[in-house]
């Protein structure tokens, strides 16, 4: 039995997108203790979330441990599946939260650390800052893509089963003793790929709707621009080099003539 499970699928990898991030509010804010603990000015929530229309996260993620700053009482907090893998706290300072991801036992993979730097201050352009202040909501998150390289046979099976999309579906009973039917009633067929465009049903940062192919395109063209600037810099360096070469020749002639 163990031999069969530990056999790996060669030449295949499976990736999953997910979100690591945090929300922060200036206290007092609903959902946080009022009055807040002494000295605490911000309420925040750090989270590990799936994409809105993606496969179920708990297929591979069984436990998340958030390791907070050591000044917190009981700094390492663990949340087991089914989650949600979220942790609310109050505080006043920013620090790096160590997030330890524990995988499904059949994967045979060890737990892995990721770090998220807690963002409590407003950030970005002035407009963004103004909006964050107005809404009293700061969201700082990033998309992570985890790759399971050459997963074990069993893990491969669970990662490619239709059940992963059940959490997005409506359960339709089929009478006593029968398995319930799961029916998908959304507009866009769920997939592990990045969604084509923004989720219009209240997406945006925090809900995960901000991550889509359109945004990717935008990011790419902005990087392309950066690259063009860079190429200009290379040209400049080359020109300088040419100048130096000429100078060198001139000096060489001068030395030779002496």
């Amino acid at each position: 039995m163990p031999a069969a499970t530990s056999k790996r699928v060669k030449g295949a990898k499976i990736f999953r997108h997910f979100i690591i991030g945090n929300e922060a509010h200036v206290l007092p804010h609903p959902g946080f203790p009022d009055p807040p603990p002494e000295g605490h000015t911000k309420g925040w929530k750090v989270y590990v979330r799936p994409l809105p229309n993606g496969p179920d996260m708990t297929t591979w993620l069984k436990k998340v441990q958030f390791k907070l700053h050591h000044t917190y009482a009981d700094p390492s907090r663990t949340i087991e599946a089914p989650g949600p893998f979220e942790l609310s706290e109050t505080g006043y300072g920013e620090f790096g939260v160590e997030i330890r991801l524990y995988f499904a036992p059949e994967s045979g993979e060890k737990a892995i650390y990721r770090e998220h730097f807690l963002q409590l201050q407003t950030y970005g352009s002035d407009e963004q800052k103004a909006r964050q202040e107005k809404e009293n909501k700061i969201v700082a998150e990033r998309l992570e893509t985890i790759e399971f390289n050459e997963p074990t046979q069993e893990f491969f099976r669970t990662l490619t089963s239709e059940d992963q999309f059940n959490w997005l579906k409506v359960k339709k009973g089929r009478g006593k003793g029968k398995k319930p039917d799961f029916v998908f009633e959304g507009d866009v067929e769920p997939t592990a790929q990045l969604p084509e465009r923004a989720d219009t049903s209240g997406g945006g940062l925090g809900a995960g709707g901000a991550w889509n192919v359109q945004y990717e395109k935008q990011l790419l063209s902005s990087l392309e621009q950066s690259k063009n600037t860079l190429e200009q810099m290379v040209e400049e360096e080359k020109r300088k080099m040419e100048e130096r070469r000429k100078e060198m020749e001139k000096l060489g002639m001068a030395v030779a003539n002496k």
């Binding site: 496969p55 998150e141 490619t160 990011l219 080359k238």
Partner: protein, 450 residues
Amino acid sequence: MTRAFEGAFFQLVVGAAVGLATITISNKIERERARRAKLGLRGVRRNKIRRCFGRKAKDYSESPPKDKNLLVLDSASAVEAHLYGTCPHGAAAATTTTADEAAPAEGSEVEETPSNMQLVRFSKYAVAPSVPQYDHDTFEKHLAHAGWTEQETDYLMSTYSECNGKWPVVADRYDYPNADRTMEDLKARFFGVQATTLQLSTPISSMTASEYNQYEVLSTYSGAQETSRKKLAEGHLYRRANEVDEETVLLGELQRIMLNQATLDSQREELRHRLDNPSPSTNGYSYNTSQALTGLWQQLLTQDRMKKNPRLRPTSNQAVDGMSTMTPTSAAPRETPRRPHSLASATALPVDLSKADQKRYGVVLQERLPTGVTFTSDKLTKPRIAKSSIQTEKIAAILQHIGVPEVIPLPTPAVIEQFESIMQVVMTILDLRKLGEKEEHELRVRAAEA
């Protein structure tokens, strides 16, 4: 029975109207306003009716107010009545009844003065087209174009705003000396300018999604493509009947071919499989000496030994068989089969997945994978860190200078590829600079010598 029911219904309606009226006219000021509005309304309605039927309505004692705005509105509704044509008797009658009975109730709804009403009604049509703004310096720096002078570009912008952004009109009116421009030329130039100014006002990285969409549409406009599209559409419009028939037949044919494509492909694949023999590196004539034949036999024998169940039995003759310890590499290497093994067939998946399902579950087939779990975002952070901290700082400075954010929040393959190409150039620059420093130093030494 029906009649009685109708009567009851009518009473009900009237009762409701009266009730509504009582509520509305509870306030005195409110009442006064309602009366005025009612008068205005009546005036309009009466005029409308008069124009429709060409006779004077006598049942109103008060004359309609002679307001200028109202008159405009009046004629507008007359035009409307005219446009909507027939102006049936019944409709007119219905209008009169409502005006008579429900006017007090309606009065509160029609609180807008006539001029306000007109503004609200037509203001949405008073739209000035937005024309990109730029000054001379910006033009020189960003908008210079080989085929367009600044004067002509200015002329294009002014024509565009004059013609209210209607391209056919712009193309028709466009009359610049020594310039023969098609509508597509004009559009391409205009959109190009617009995209550039848009990007100058908001850099791509801080555009909102809708702004970026607009920018993308503007910057990807291709005049040539548009011309060919129009030509195609025109051709499509003026086809003859026999051409349409021919097209239908051809489409049918194409569909048939596409349907059979899959079976044909699989048959061909099978055939290729059958034909796939190890191809000799030379032609068969090279084996016409006994020595060559012995070589061949040894070669085949060594190959056969590598297999699980050898089919060739070695002869007892050592000289012919060659040394049994002969390593397979010493024999002439067998040419690998020409048919490229597709990766999908090489990798045995425990679950049979179609291409679409592979995509849906995020399965990627790839050779030479690292083991265990990896995060793609590492590929966006690790290259930034060099062995020495000075070098790391230099890299960070360059990346910051060219506007690459410290955290790239979307580690997709395309983004990673782009980032890696950027990093490559960064490394080139660093090398160039290092070399530059060395040369500078040498130059100084030489200058001191000279």
